[in-house]
Symmetry: D2
Subunit: 318 residues, 4 copies
Amino acid sequence: LRTPVTGIEPEELRRVLEAACKVAARDIKAGKVADYIPALARVPSSKLGAAIVTVDGDVILYGDAQEPFSIQSISKVFTLTMVLSAIGDSKRFWERVGREPSGSAFNSIVQLEMEHGIPRNPLINAGAIVVSDVLHGVLKSKDTVSAVVDFMRQISQSPRVSVDPVVAESEAVAGFRNASLANFLKSFRNLDHDVADVLHVYFNQCAIAMSCEELARASLYLAVEGDHPLTGSKVLSSSRTRRVNSIMLMCGHYDASGDFAFRVGLPGKSGVGGGIVAVAPGRAVIVVWSPGLNKHGNSHAGTIVLEHFARQTGWSVF
Amino acid sequence: LRTPVTGIEPEELRRVLEAACKVAARDIKAGKVADYIPALARVPSSKLGAAIVTVDGDVILYGDAQEPFSIQSISKVFTLTMVLSAIGDSKRFWERVGREPSGSAFNSIVQLEMEHGIPRNPLINAGAIVVSDVLHGVLKSKDTVSAVVDFMRQISQSPRVSVDPVVAESEAVAGFRNASLANFLKSFRNLDHDVADVLHVYFNQCAIAMSCEELARASLYLAVEGDHPLTGSKVLSSSRTRRVNSIMLMCGHYDASGDFAFRVGLPGKSGVGGGIVAVAPGRAVIVVWSPGLNKHGNSHAGTIVLEHFARQTGWSVF
Amino acid sequence: LRTPVTGIEPEELRRVLEAACKVAARDIKAGKVADYIPALARVPSSKLGAAIVTVDGDVILYGDAQEPFSIQSISKVFTLTMVLSAIGDSKRFWERVGREPSGSAFNSIVQLEMEHGIPRNPLINAGAIVVSDVLHGVLKSKDTVSAVVDFMRQISQSPRVSVDPVVAESEAVAGFRNASLANFLKSFRNLDHDVADVLHVYFNQCAIAMSCEELARASLYLAVEGDHPLTGSKVLSSSRTRRVNSIMLMCGHYDASGDFAFRVGLPGKSGVGGGIVAVAPGRAVIVVWSPGLNKHGNSHAGTIVLEHFARQTGWSVF
Amino acid sequence: LRTPVTGIEPEELRRVLEAACKVAARDIKAGKVADYIPALARVPSSKLGAAIVTVDGDVILYGDAQEPFSIQSISKVFTLTMVLSAIGDSKRFWERVGREPSGSAFNSIVQLEMEHGIPRNPLINAGAIVVSDVLHGVLKSKDTVSAVVDFMRQISQSPRVSVDPVVAESEAVAGFRNASLANFLKSFRNLDHDVADVLHVYFNQCAIAMSCEELARASLYLAVEGDHPLTGSKVLSSSRTRRVNSIMLMCGHYDASGDFAFRVGLPGKSGVGGGIVAVAPGRAVIVVWSPGLNKHGNSHAGTIVLEHFARQTGWSVF
């Protein structure tokens, strides 16, 4: 009889996940769906999905686990991965973007000013825009957006993954804050390419639609030191993978990153579409989705699911 | 034949530690000893000590591992532990101090103003002063400083642990920045006791002198979910211990916490005396000491030791 | 027949002042008496007094013009005058305190941090504490507070002027924010004397009680290039007097200095006791008192009186 | 024999101006020509011009007084005048832009964030961009830039005034910081029109080229309560003119506004082209131009001229 690497049998994992989801479902109405663009505001707040993919290859799904949603800021983890995978020496890259938590949301633009246009980390908007700029340069492909989509299709093993054009268009129309950040970075000479080109990449990567299951498959390399058991490929080196996890833990949940680390204890990244990817190194990836957000902009029900799940499994890295 | 819980034989650990220390020793002169108080400035910058205490009880020492030094901010972890151990419901406590990283050092006082006197976390000075204030209240002992010293003696199993009176006096004389913070907190009604009484506790806890070995013994509960294998006592509940580790990872190295997580990948806490405590959950505690500091105020050689050690052992939590 | 220097006959000035006070009296209840110390909170909000002293020596009083009140921050103008009068070269002084407006109240402590302990100007609390420190040094008298009181008695020609001991004691007990600032300045080595000694001077100067009439007499030198027509003495050089007026215009009303300049157009200084001193260079000093404050901490009715008065007389400096 | 309204005979004014310019010329090399756009960097740093136009109509010129230069931020005074002249009730306008000094340059973007997209005053870049947006709306003309140029031609009585197309193009190409601010304002819904349209107005108004003499004629209404003696027209109401002067005194010289008020004592506005307009209410307008800037971005020689001139004439408003 196989002893699972995760230390917990799949059936037990399923039971724990279901129990956690049921607790969260009771409080699902306390979340508030993002309304800054119409395409997001239309998603029903009652949606709740979850997927676990273990390093053994077991897949556990719950609820709306196969329904695509807008991954939004979760995309930042994957463009960062693409950049770290494509560049050799990363010294120059880490001079253009830091790896410290950003403190309060308020401080991001203050710090950007004080720190001369060097974003604090690659998971805040300013940092992710720099990542998109670097990616645009290193890929040398005609179409950076297509390259990102191809990468997501490959690591999720799902050819249907694509950009939601309505969401992408909405981002561009409403994206004055991001346009402000991009111009600010450009004024500090921390963007190599045209502001419009970089924002095109950024708005489109945020508008990629994927399901919990697809995201969990796609993220599995983060739990296996950069190897991808499902595809057999090496997505990222072991040391750089650990560093992506480290940055996720420190900076993955906006101004509530400390709270998420405190309550869940796993590296994770959330998006305003209501998705959260959490990584249990050496064990599994857990993805939850529920579009209602808490006051920090993270999925309300999703955070509850992960908190209960982590407590029951003891998978906190601490 | 016993398989060590750490996954690495003690002799191998010793070899890895020594190799790491030798690498660090070569660059030891790049650090700069803290000079804000004379008592610290006098410590020779050539000192280098390290101690590992594993959850199996193995003890590995290197260099100046048994020479006492000023633990300074490392004391914040222990007063936080004492408070979390003494209080029942922690809700009120976490309303008086947050658990988010503070961003840049600059931001601490800005955030304190913006966030109405609620320090971002218990490991920045303002937060630790609130912790000392709470401790002063919950202990109900006549002498809070003695209680802290007694606690440190007990968990380190070393009766010689004590406050260095010269350092404590120097802290009080030079502590205008901390006096400013304490009065600031008091103006927001976030100190219950007299400013002078709280600062007395704070300056004395920082002036406690301990060796690497003593600190490693004292911290072992952080690697064993709150149990203390050496004393047989339960220092802190499992969930609260994980949370202390989480806060150490997020906030334990001032404005270089992200960098330490990125490079070492272990919860840790540094002090301007040159000490660093690092926790490998389920495995061991590693303490290093070298008084020369890098530009962020963390031990220069100590950080190098831990970076090499973590890379060789693979003990990163990520 | 004499043509008044002010360009307006005293009887007309009286008529304009009364009309302005009557307009303000109608809205007097919209102000809120400062309650941060009990001694201030007890003053009836219905009080309204005003005094004009022209450079010709005419005195016009209205309402509670002869009732003493706590001058609070208005004292900053006089300690600044004492320092500028006592020192020769002012270069060193202006390196310890700036002369730029401070922007929002929020920014004062941020700027103090960013600008390495150099307060933006002598009329914000941090700057006035530095002024008190300098004064303590240059006077070489045993008792700086007595020297300030003597100065106020002399230039107001009123021997009854004195410190209200109840207010002074309250300031000391509740003055945590100022104690924080003083320790902050000390940590940047921008206080020469003991924090407690400097705060003693500062709290006592703020607690001086004077009437509108006394304050108007005391301030007359500001309208006559430093000469004091009533005492026949030279209080301050012409150029330094103009500079005090300049600083009052830029910084005299906390975060509403621009608004006061916009609406009234005269150099002025307010205090949380409800007093405002306004200077019409070459013409007169106008002092109003009404303890109810607006949201910026300036006398609500007092500001209305001065706005109407300035509009009717055309005495704006613009 | 006529007594001049200024109190000083024209020949004496000429003598004082020449003496001041000669003092400034000795130190002219200490200034540094703005180099953020090539078109400005090419102007010889040795240029020095000055013009006085008194309310009596006397014109006094010195040096390069008739050579056009880029008025840059000085244009903000005139677009503000156009808006205040065009709108009825100004309440809504002053809700979109404040009238408080901005403190340090650093703080402008912090304050913009904290104060929800309401710029502190109309003379900082963010505020001037809002003014351009309002102007674009109220003018209802097809071409706002042409309307601004026409206004400048009319009040300067000089048909040759026009936009320098090379400078305007350079502003657009290098204007990432302003594009960032405009998008930031738009994200707070404090721009009514398209970002590109508003920036077009803003970049072109800054690129208007005028001589000292033209600018002095154009500004004369500021010294005469809104009347324009040369054109016989009413440019702005008396009370709004005083308010423009008040804002110039508080905010006209970036982070050195307090210093300018302290040393010169006159409302003024500088531009990075090296021009400064100073207003002596009831007396005259003085315009100086020298392209070398001091560390605050104000004309180095120009500031010296005005300081000497103000001291000799006693025209300080204080």
